[in-house]
């Protein structure tokens, strides 16, 4: 019972952290369109982008996990404080307008929320003992027990003499170890397999919803008259986005092979690969759609953080890079927006930097030892 309460507290705290961090980022950017889910979504990517950089520095410096945990505690504390002071008014406004905003949705919002609840319940209940879960969760539990970062093989417990580029450069599993180091009594296996699974599924749904909003923009945002589409601003977009999420949910539960996004979402939601295909890719696609539709707010900044977080999640972050190039380069070519090439290159920096370091480590140009 105590563990379950701790797990619930960990989930609420982490969601609150993402909300606060996202609120800070949105405040800095001066974004007008604020919503709690969008702020948490932005915060999620920014957090894992920052975590990746800090964790890699600590890993290369052979510092203990506890030191990383205390550093992250300071970052989290600062984010929560700033987010609370800057975001409080926005949160209140969001809560006060909740009733009005709910009226902008149709019956499909109920279906969407039911799909979300069913998905969260499913991933909390689902368990297996796959080899990959052994690696992802084992990495976090090994780090916490030995108070090290990546210096022991998670699948055997044997010491590792050189960091392997394929695993050492993606810090996502250590987030669970950090949380458990700060929340005494919460087992890593519960944080990694149940708490993070639930958070990741919620983020996946928000990502798909954001993609839906981008795919079905409310044209009044662009100053057009759309009385025939909806009587109230925001209604058309929300209704279509709700329906879109429901269809994605249905298609995911009808994904019959072990390679499709659906199986990753429901059975491997705590793995970095799943986050690439179910969170980072819809988020990147939403940015690409909004670029094509010219309704984007800070598209390249958003893409930068998505890529930074994707590097943290998995080596498959390269897929997010290819998707972004595949979607944006034709648009730049057809519309002749050559000035966008530089910001696009900037947004791709995290994955490109990761790829460069990966290449250098794999070919022995950089030797990352686990000892001095």
């Amino acid at each position: 019972m105590k563990i379950m309460l701790l797990a619930a507290a960990a989930m609420i705290l982490q969601m609150f952290l993402f909300l606060c961090l996202g609120s800070v980022v949105m405040k800095i950017r001066g974004r007008k369109e604020y919503s709690l889910s969008r702020a948490a979504f932005v915060g999620y990517f920014v957090y894992f982008g920052i975590f990746e950089v800090i964790c890699l520095i600590f890993e290369a410096a052979l510092l203990p996990l506890r030191t990383l945990a205390l550093t992250m505690a300071a970052v989290m504390g600062a984010a929560i404080l700033l987010g609370f002071f800057w975001g409080y008014r926005s949160w209140m406004e969001s809560m006060n307008s909740l009733r009005y905003r709910m009226k902008l949705h149709s019956f499909t919002v109920v279906l969407m929320l039911l799909a979300l609840a069913a998905s969260v319940a499913f991933v909390i209940l689902y368990f297996d003992a796959s080899a990959d879960s052994g690696w992802y969760v084992g990495t976090a539990s090994t780090a916490l027990t030995t108070n090290t970062i990546g210096r022991f093989d998670p699948s055997t417990g044997a010491r590792v003499l050189r960091f392997k580029a394929r695993y050492a450069l993606n810090a996502y599993p250590y987030h669970s170890a950090v949380v458990c180091s700060l929340m005494k009594g919460l087992p890593v296996i519960v944080q990694a397999r149940s708490v993070m699974s639930a958070i990741n599924v919620i983020m996946s749904f928000i990502g798909v919803y954001e993609l839906g909003l981008a795919l079905f923009p409310d044209h009044e945002d662009r100053g057009r008259k759309v009385r025939d589409i909806s009587n109230r601003p925001g209604s058309y977009s929300r209704r279509r986005a709700d329906l879109f999420v429901v269809f994605v949910f249905v298609l995911n539960i009808l994904s019959s092979t072990i390679y499709m996004p659906g199986i990753f979402l429901y059975t491997r939601s705590y793995e970095g690969k799943s986050l690439i295909v179910n969170v980072a890719i819809p988020a990147a696609l939403a940015v690409c759609v909004s670029l094509w539709r010219e309704i984007a707010e800070d598209p390249m900044r958003n893409l930068f953080w998505i890529m930074a977080a994707a590097v943290c999640f998995s080596a498959s972050s390269i897929m997010v890079l290819i998707l972004s190039l595949a979607a944006i380069l034709p648009m730049i070519g057809v519309r002749g927006k050559w000035k966008s090439l530089l910001p696009l290159a900037g947004a791709c920096t995290p994955v490109l930097a990761w790829a460069l370091i990966y290449y250098l480590v794999q070919h022995g140009a950089i030797v990352l030892r686990t000892w001095r």
Binding site: L62, P64, F107, F122, Y126, F127, A129, A131, G134, G138, S141, T142, T146, T148, R151, F152, P154, S155, T156, G157, P187, I189, V190, A192, R193, V208, L211, G212, K225, D228, I229, L243, F244, F247, V248, V250, L251, N252, L254, S255, S256, Y259, M260, P261, Y266, I276, I281, L285, V289, W292, S316, M319, I322, L323, A326, A327, V334, R335, T370, W371
Partner: protein
Amino acid sequence: MSGITIKEYGLTFVWAALREYLGRSWPILLIFAAGCVLGIVFAITGRKKENPLEIVDARDYVPGKYEDNPLPDSSSVTWMFIGIVIFCALTVMNPFLVRVLIPKFGMTTVYYRFFWIIPITFGAAYWLTRAAGMVKKRVLQAGLVILLCAGMAWLMPLNPGIPNVRIPTNVYKVDGAVPVLCDAVHEDFEKTQKYITASEKLAQITDTSSKKWLKAVQKQYPLCVFPYGIEFAVRQYDPTIRLLFNRNLRLFYEGNTSTGISYGSKNTRYIRRKLILDAMYGKDPAITQEAFREAMDKTGAQYLIVEEHLANGGFLVQSGCKQVGVVAGYTIFKYGL
């Protein structure tokens, strides 16, 4: 992707991989492709319409506002999907490039991840939403949504993870035997001289960034072999248990070649470990006690955990193992302690 290699399939590798990727969920690709084709048709025939599938939008088109865009905004999503497909067809799904580059990067077994780039699921959901959105009356729209979902459910099988869900027996979501087995191994190991010596040695080393410290840390944990069904859960629950088999070695032993790694008869590391498992389960009567003892000594294995009804107990005890006890239906043997 299991069973699909560039060596075997050559230029048809991408097609074979796509078929394996989709399996019986191919209607998702069909919806996506059909939507893209319809989108192009509507985009070409109705260039001035805001949303080609929603005629009502035509009245809201503002001429002159986006004249600098060669492509009308209404079809931008279609063009984006087409752009992604063409880009991928020329690069990461170009059979000629794939045949050369994918094996070089060692990505044959994980090639399916490139299909994530093409937004098949999101694209199909987009076109389904547009189709449902064509109906304005709410009741009719709800009926159409139900009809579409029912049609897809009839055409495609369920996600294989869904029928496998079961209520976990503990908060850790591991087999109930795992916690008790780990406790039993620790209880026994912590009484041994090896553990006491390792702990004392570790206490003397103050430099935690040294090689010595890493070695001393691992020495204070027992080295075990667990049954396949629970092996991958053990270190998730208790990382103070060391395992003799790493992920790839164990998967290969159990006949899973999805990692793309195989271990031949010259790989002594694998051969010794295989011998231990074969002896534990009595799979190979040709294994001698001397060969088993040599494998145990060279690998340093300390605990063997076997299902009680499958254990080759007589052979293990005669070869120098001691039975620690029977816990949760598993027999625990120790060696050299």
